[in-house]
């Protein structure tokens, strides 16, 4: 397989994952804005931060964060490389580049994703249409994933796509935790205290985990449990532990496929071990923020090393 193709697949699925996560963040932000009376726009700075779109927003819009500005920036602004619209186009351009590696179904679903979103995001989204548009984004992304699961051979092509998916997802979950860690933190000291109901719901909603959490822990939302769930629970498909497991599996299949272990595999093992070998109490004691900062750094390094080892660019 061409190195360029591996890179194209990896980025195609990173973009797809990111656009879906952005939609989810907006959904959660909108929800919280609607349920709180005062300082609703404060929430959007946090959402922008979680989406990794804050710095760009400040440049484009200035200091004042508004709901409309934030949503438009994240969904459809041409100047925001991580806007959903730009992601859909970038994912499709990557798919075009790697067209020969994709099944017809996967190509058609990613092409339709772009065609649909291009139309849906052609104009500023009025508030009443927002829920529908956000659902559409998640749905289209699910179609691509479905086509991929149902039709792609489980070979190196699939593995690079999966590695991209889970590196992006781990990154996104970690960012959400990092932006919101202060919500979890103060009350974490007071064992057994329930944190702000709206805030924790928002965190869970951002990763589509309300139902899963309730199934596991019941109605009581304690910060410790939420952190545990989003970081270390291997059943939760957006947790750091789950993502690390998948990245390690898929990198591992490449070792089997190509018969060669490369530096990225060592990095991956180290990061997985680091993530998994602590209990949540230890992590909180060490400092949640510090832990997540280290995790994000190591994850970026792993992504970079994978690009080098499998000759994405040179």
């Amino acid at each position: 397989m061409l190195g360029k193709t591996a890179g194209g697949l990896y980025w195609m699925f990173r973009y797809l994952e990111r656009s879906e996560n952005t939609a989810r963040l907006i959904e959660a932000g909108q929800r919280i804005a609607l349920t709180r009376s005062s300082s609703a726009d404060d929430e959007w700075a946090g959402v922008l931060q979680s989406a990794g779109a804050f710095a760009g927003y400040l440049v484009a819009y200035g200091e004042e964060v508004t709901r409309d500005g934030a949503i438009d920036w994240m969904l459809r602004d041409k100047d925001n490389p991580s806007s959903v619209l730009n992601m859909a186009e970038a994912a499709r351009n990557n798919a075009k580049t790697v067209r020969t590696a994709l099944t017809r179904e996967v190509w058609e679903s990613i092409n339709e994703n772009w065609m649909t979103l291009k139309e849906a995001l052609a104009r500023k989204i009025p508030e009443r249409d927002l829920p529908e548009v956000l659902t559409l984004i998640r749905q289209r992304s699910a179609f691509v994933r479905g086509a991929m699961h149902g039709t792609m051979l489980r070979n190196d092509i699939y593995n690079f796509a999966r590695i991209g998916t889970f590196i992006e997802r781990a990154d996104n979950t970690a960012r959400i935790l990092d932006v919101k860690y202060y919500v979890l933190l103060p009350s974490a000291m007071a064992v057994g205290t329930n944190i702000d109901n709206v805030q924790w719901q928002n965190i869970l909603r951002s990763v589509s985990a309300e139902g899963g959490f309730q199934m596991t822990y019941g109605q009581d939302a304690r910060p410790r449990e939420i952190a545990q769930f989003l970081m270390l629970d291997k059943r939760m498909p957006r947790s750091l532990a789950f993502c690390m497991d998948k990245i390690r599996d898929n990198l591992g299949y490449l070792v089997a496929d190509y018969g060669r272990r490369l530096p990225c595999h060592d990095l991956c093992d180290r990061l997985a071990l680091n993530t998994m070998s602590h209990s949540i109490d230890q992590i909180i004691e060490m400092g949640l923020h510090e832990f997540i900062t280290d995790f994000l750094k190591a994850l970026a390094e792993l992504g970079g090393q994978t690009e080098i080892d499998y000759r994405f660019y040179i």
Binding site: M1, L2, G3, K4, T5, A6, N93, K96, T97, R99, T100, R104, W107, E108, N111, E112, M115, D156, Y258, R260, Y310, R311, I314
Partner: protein, 498 residues
């Protein structure tokens, strides 16, 4: 100008005689491939017509819309340069097939094979001893002064002796048995993916038509292409030569076709930056390091192929590939320098070229061509300008061209001046009455002008011609422009079993 697209999206450059004018060729009623000249159903269309008559028009309209949706979903689009928004457009597809009988086709196929063999022999000769010039059948300046002649190819024999691995021969029809070659495409002919997808779409939408009519399949083309390319691999490539398709990238107008062909052949689709010369071989960067390529089906023009040997600014090619090529380390398909064979000035010599290399009369006719470099021809052309089509020798895409019957007095005068000052730069052809095939419109069937591009594969093992080819149709009434950027469309082309 739409750059690379020019090869495929091109105006039909032979215009139609008007009924009111008596041109150099007797004007007569246009030949319709379904209804003939006298509204009597022609035999190849009998079964189709029975089916069509029984069909409900509303259902067909729905099918026509469905076809468009299918094409858009598959991404069969072409890029239009210079337009940032909506840069991708569909080539309209018409659901009425063009039907050619088995008998008609076998004659055409013989003619195409003869022509393509002659073109290959001509290219070998031109880059070696130039016997045809020595024999006085082709003026030396036609070669020496021709921009399409590539000095870098002098004395180079490509692996297997094949120059034009893939050829598209553009044909027009004027009567039941009258076909003319409008143009040869010996560089990187495109459009074959439309031929294949058109059939695929028809099979999906009207399966019942194919059980009634015995239509010769076209779906083997990618397999044949791969086999044909592999058969041209350099010596020492081994049992299974590594083939790759070289594309300028996703923004190229024909990118869809490049990826389509690579996909269907099961080979890598590479760009210049994936390739590098390693240990005297052209190699592609894979996830496991550099892997040598034996046969490169390039869809990049000669000029951009190698910045060390041609255009130094090209980022689309591979530095040093020509050196590997000359040393026999890789097959480039089509070979560099094949443009000399489809040059418009050379075109007028094709009947001689066919005869010179095959020893037979050309089966397929050329459109009669006056070379304005010849004083008596020039005189004739100037006298009959209003009835002729005048083309620039090196022009393409229908630019710098005069269509006499539809031009104003002022335009004619302007061309008269041009012809007198640079006669060598022009050729002239009569206006032909091009055949029509019905298309499906809101008010039923309506005749439209068509042309045909059959696709030909050449290898040391032989010549393969896919039955049919790509039919392009001018969708506007009376129009002769099949150019897809100006309202041209395509049709499925059927060759019936004999």
């Amino acid at each position: 100008m739409i750059g690379q697209a020019a090869n495929f999206v091109r105006a039909l450059v032979v215009s139609c005689a008007r009924a009111s004018k008596i041109g150099p060729m007797e004007a007569q009623k246009t030949f319709d491939e379904m209804w003939g000249r006298d509204d009597s159903l022609r035999q190849p269309y009998e079964d189709f017509n029975a089916w069509f008559t029984a069909e409900d028009a509303a259902r067909l309209r729905k099918k026509q819309a469905e076809a468009e949706r299918l094409f858009r979903l598959t991404g069969i689009t072409f890029n239009v340069y210079g337009r940032a928004e909506a840069a991708e457009r569909l080539i309209p597809f018409d659901i009425i097939p063009r039907i050619i009988s088995g008998r008609e086709w076998s004659r055409l196929a013989r003619g195409i094979e003869q022509r393509v063999r002659a073109i290959n022999a001509f290219l070998h000769d031109i880059y070696h001893r130039q016997e045809i010039v020595r024999a006085g059948r082709l003026p030396a300046e036609m070669i020496a002064k021709n921009e399409a002649f590539l000095p870098q190819m002098i004395g180079v024999t490509p692996p297997g002796g094949v120059y034009t691995h893939i050829v598209g021969v553009d044909l027009v029809r004027t009567g039941p048995d009258e076909f003319y070659v409008l143009e040869d495409n010996a560089r990187t002919p495109s459009g074959v993916s439309y031929m294949l997808e058109n059939r695929e779409t028809m099979l999906q939408m009207f399966p019942e038509l194919f059980s009634k009519n015995r239509v010769q399949p076209v779906s083997n083309y990618p397999k044949q292409l791969r086999r044909s390319l592999a058969a041209c691999a350099p010596d020492g490539a081994g049992e299974k030569p590594t083939v790759a398709v070289l594309t300028p990238g996703i923004y190229n107008s024909a990118y869809y076709e490049h990826s389509f062909l690579a996909d269907k052949m099961g080979v890598e689709l590479v760009e210049g930056h994936d390739l590098r010369v390693v240990n005297g071989r052209v190699a592609m960067r894979t996830t496991e390091g550099y892997q040598p390529i034996d046969v490169l089906y390039r869809r990049v023009d000669d000029d951009f192929l190698d910045p060390l040997n041609f255009n130094p600014d090209s980022a689309l090619g591979v530095p040093g590939i020509m050196d590997v090529y000359r040393a026999g380390g890789i097959t480039i398909a089509n070979a560099p320098g094949t443009g000399i064979a489809d040059d418009k000035a050379i075109y007028s010599y094709m009947p001689d070229i066919v005869e010179f290399y095959t020893g037979e009369k050309a089966i397929l006719q050329n459109v009669p061509t006056w070379r304005c470099s010849d004083p008596s021809s020039l005189a004739y052309v100037l006298d009959n300008l209003a009835d002729l089509v005048v083309k620039e020798v090196h022009g393409s895409g229908g630019y710098g061209m005069l269509i006499g019957p539809t031009s104003s007095k002022r335009e004619l005068e302007e061309f008269r001046r041009k012809l007198k000052s640079r006669p060598n730069n022009y050729i002239a052809q009569p206006t032909l009455s091009l055949s029509t095939v019905p298309i499906f419109t809101k008010s039923g069937l309506a005749p439209r002008h068509v042309d045909l591009r059959p696709f030909v594969l050449v290898s040391p093992k032989g010549v393969d011609i896919t039955p049919g080819g790509l039919t392009r149709v001018a969708l506007k009434k009376g129009s002769l422009v099949v150019n897809s950027s100006q309202g041209g469309g395509t049709k499925d082309t059927w060759v019936l079993e004999e």
